[in-house]
């Protein structure tokens, strides 16, 4: 190799390395921006007030920056959508890996993936324009904006995440374990429920956590369908599900649409919510990563 060729080679390598390091820069930028803007916010509003306050009125006097109403709204959507996506996703995974023929699987899997590919603004429209009016026939008390419809569409949206990760985990369970079950005279459902699922449990749990993390960050569907009413909702009261709420993400959209200036507290509060949201999803993703690692090691 002559020297000019060597120079070219190392230049190329450096350029490609810079492309890779950009991803690290993105991570640090996210953390830096969220931290610095939140820090100035917390100089004016104490973290105690923010994390334990029960009123959220960032743009209406008297200003109050209590994030709890938004957290309760987010929790509501998360729990509601998990109640739909977890059973549906897990049962889908069982069908696809244990019952479906290769041909059926090749048809159903892409169809299931479509559920995750539909833009979330479209899901919001579905909930507001069709699902809520439909449910209103069954429950006259249902408001135009409500947590129930939003939970249903978010649930549908995250089925594929739960299904595909669960299915990977179930497929990783060795055949020999299933055969052992059949040899003992157990039939298929029993083998699935007592051998396959427990063996794949860590992967399945990881899929639940990832699905929940996705539901927490969900924005447009909940903004359109659940409305923008920040109030401390009671999760255990069924009547509360028929009313409008506001999630953390919907509050961010509301602030983004209002003309708050870059120096106001309301603008800074946007980043404080964003930071809280980021930490929540990061924590869940990290937990699911380690849980997943565990099952990968078992059957190597």
């Amino acid at each position: 190799m002559n020297s000019s060729k060597k120079a070219t080679e190392s230049l190329i390598k450096t350029i490609l390395l810079i492309c890779t390091l950009l991803t690290v820069f993105v991570t640090f930028s996210i953390i830096y921006i969220l931290l610095s803007e939140s820090a100035t916010f917390f100089l004016s509003v104490s973290p105690v007030e923010f994390f334990t306050g029960m009123k959220w009125t960032p743009t209406i006097k008297p200003y109050a920056y209590g994030v709890l109403p938004l957290v309760s709204g987010t929790l509501m959507i998360t729990i509601g959508s998990a109640l739909i996506a977890i059973p549906a996703g897990l049962l889908s995974a069982i069908y696809l890996s244990e019952y479906a023929s290769e041909r059926v699987r090749n048809i159903l899997k892409p169809m299931l993936e479509i559920l995750a590919g539909i833009p979330t603004v479209v899901y919001g429209f579905f909930a507001f324009a069709y699902i809520t009016p439909f449910l209103k026939n069954l429950m006259p008390d249902l408001q135009a904006y409500n947590a129930l419809s939003a939970s249903i569409v978010v649930g549908i949206m995250i089925i594929p995440i739960v299904a595909s990760i669960s299915e990977d985990a179930i497929r990783a369970v060795p055949r020999s374990l299933r055969e052992a079950g059949y040899a003992l005279g157990a039939r298929k459902p029993r083998v699935i429920l007592t051998i396959v699922i427990p063996s794949a449990l860590s992967g399945i749990i990881a899929s639940f956590i990832l699905g929940i993390s996705r539901a927490i960050g969900e924005t447009m569907a909940v903004t359109i369908a659940a409305g923008r009413t920040p109030r401390l909702a009671n999760l255990l009261n069924p009547a509360d599900w028929t009313k409008s709420i506001e999630t953390m993400t919907a509050a961010m959209v509301e602030l983004g649409l209002s003309d708050v200036s870059g120096h106001s507290l309301a603008y800074k509060s946007l980043f404080a919510i964003g930071f809280t949201l980021f930490l929540m999803t990061l924590a869940l993703n990290t937990v699911s990563y380690f849980v997943k690692m565990r099952y990968r090691e078992v059957y190597r």
Binding site: V24, K188, M252
Partner: protein, 284 residues
């Protein structure tokens, strides 16, 4: 399944029903949307700006803005994503460093899209003073948003190139970069393209990050340059679900949704076509 009792059959039926449930509900919702959109999608709708009067309203400025922004996102994210994937696959080897980078990339892929909106707001709008709501600011934000998925899909395509080809090229005296340029890239391009198009079709439907960087809710003239303010198609849909008149929610919004889904569908079809077309060419 022979010899199974009804309980065993029931269990299978339940799992199948769960698989079909979401698909069925979505199909019904899409059918409803299509039914309501049919009377509204026409040449006038595709060539008019939005309006307070449903009969005159259209999505022309949104479509122009969306297409301009997608071209830009492609221009930004493809070189960066493919470059990073090449480094990780061809130079990275199996190092601790590569592992950390990959964990970071998978974490970035799981960051909620609205947080990318805050990144765009803080980095491009507030720090670099690229106009709020401009096509450039929106495209840069979306590029960072899809970068992790572009990298991962490009990595898979590059990994699919057999090592024997690389060794043959090195054996003939080619340098590492020559090998990448003349052996690895040509055979992985279809896979890379497929991944890029799928990521772009994802980006088309993104709304939340664009609200954060100040994209317009309604705009009456088509954007002229990348510095013009724009109102991406999903943003227009969002506004029309919020309008008091019935025709907006049950006419214009469905029409705009069908146009958006049609664009996404054609992109996906293109990706699948490319994959199959090149597969035949490459592997006979």
């Amino acid at each position: 399944m022979k010899g199974d009792g009804w309980k065993e059959k029931m269990f299978m039926v339940v799992t199948l029903a769960a698989t079909l449930a979401g698909i069925t509900v979505l199909s019904a919702l899409l059918a409803l949307t299509f039914y309501e959109a049919v009377n509204w999608i026409d040449i006038q709708f595709l060539t008019s700006p939005p309006s307070r009067f449903p009969d005159r309203a259209g999505i022309y400025p949104s479509i122009v803005g969306t297409i301009m922004s997608m071209i830009l996102v492609g221009v930004f994210s493809v070189p960066l994503g493919v470059g990073a994937a090449l480094y990780l696959e061809e130079y990275g080897r199996r190092s601790r460093f590569k592992q950390i980078l990959e964990i970071n990339i998978s974490n970035l892929a799981a960051v909620p899209s609205i947080v990318y909106g805050l990144l765009g707001l803080g980095l491009f709008v507030s720090t670099l003073h690229i106009g709020a709501g401009s096509i450039l600011a929106g495209s840069l934000t979306l590029s960072l948003l899809i970068l992790p998925t572009v990298i991962v899909s490009a990595q898979e395509a590059i990994r699919a190139v057999p090592d024997s080809l690389r060794e043959a090229s090195i054996g003939l005296g080619a340098s590492k970069w020559q090998t990448i340029r003349h052996v690895v890239l040509p055979s992985s391009i279809p896979g890379i393209l497929t991944g890029v198009i799928l990521s772009l079709s994802r980006a088309i439907g993104e709304t939340a990050p664009l609200i954060m960087i100040g994209a317009a809710t309604t705009i009456f003239t088509a954007p002229k340059s990348i510095f013009s303010t724009y109102s991406p198609l999903p943003m227009q849909i969002f506004m029309w679900t919020d309008m008091p008149k019935e025709e907006f929610l049950h006419g214009l919004a469905p029409a705009a949704i069908i146009v958006l889904l049609a664009i996404m569908l054609s992109m996906n079809a293109l990706a699948i076509y490319l994959r199959n077309h090149y597969r035949k060419k490459l592997w006979g």
